[in-house]
Symmetry: C2
Subunit: 178 residues, 2 copies
């Protein structure tokens, strides 16, 4: 795999960091190299949280996202901030409540991620795993069984079924679109 | 606070990453900037896991550890790897089972971290929180109440008391030394 740069953004408590950790850990389990990082600055106190993951077959010398291949934004605040830092090729994945300015001509997936977590899974905190399911279905960045095993290794015991349901519900959001 | 560089190492499953996340999150809650990163490469598959945290009052432009102020190593494999990359000023914190070569003249804290988790707390997976307690007591890098609140926000519900016990047991390891 060539270098893949992913920026995931949202608000604190949405499980952004855990989503990044699972993407990075499943990539290494899949045989790639990966680096996951989260910066906390004044903007973190203001509500926009960001996690970056870089995946590469080769060694990763520069650990920051330069030109994101994927931007995930789960809140308007996060989208407003990070849409300023995309390339024409960046694929954008946003929650349905996020408005993407009409001058942005990128490929945009607008998906009911938080709504699915609340109303289908009945557990808002699974929004990150719903999002991960959609992200997987768009990118196929890793073998799906490796990814599921990584999810199960990271979630608290007793929450396996609901998180697997959330993952599959996220995949369905893309299958329905395509 | 001037730039503080922390490298935490051990084996997979020791909660290295969670320790780094808690240090970074408590630092931002304390009013500093912080960046936490974890690289996964071939060495991660071999058993040495590493998490880096940088804390600074100012903006953090270079997100990698250059000259660690603190190196934490919970396994011999991790120590062997990362002791190669210290400065004369790096303060070293290792588990009691780790042998530090006698030619290393740095300040070294050799502490029964894993033994305390197993035999005092009766829960091996709290070793990272024991370690965090010791790290706090050495560095006082943050207000202790901010740190405790961050720990409680990151551990699974129902594990509050045992983790607070682990944190205090870690602090005691230093109080006994001093």
């Amino acid at each position: 795999m060539d270098r893949l740069e992913i920026r995931i953004s949202g608000s604190g408590g949405q499980g952004i960091l855990m989503m990044g950790i699972i993407i990075a850990e499943s990539s290494i389990a899949n045989g790639n190299n990966a680096i996951q990082s989260q910066s906390y600055g004044p903007e973190a106190r203001g509500g926009a949280s960001k996690c970056e993951v870089i995946i590469d077959d080769n060694e990763i010398y520069f650990p920051k996202v330069k030109s994101p291949d994927y931007l995930v934004a789960l809140t308007q605040t996060a989208a407003d901030k990070y849409l300023a830092d995309i390339t024409p090729e960046t694929v954008i994945i946003v929650d349905s409540d996020v408005k993407v300015p009409s001058n942005i001509k990128n490929k945009v997936y607008t998906l009911p991620i938080i709504d699915t977590a609340i109303n289908v899974i009945n557990k808002r905190i699974t929004a990150n795993i719903v999002c991960l399911g959609a992200f997987y279905e768009i990118t196929k960045f890793v073998d799906v069984e490796v990814l599921k095993k990584t999810i199960l290794g990271r979630i608290p015991a007793g929450h396996e079924y609901i998180n697997m349901d959330a993952f599959e519900a996220g995949r369905e959001l893309i299958k329905e679109v395509v």
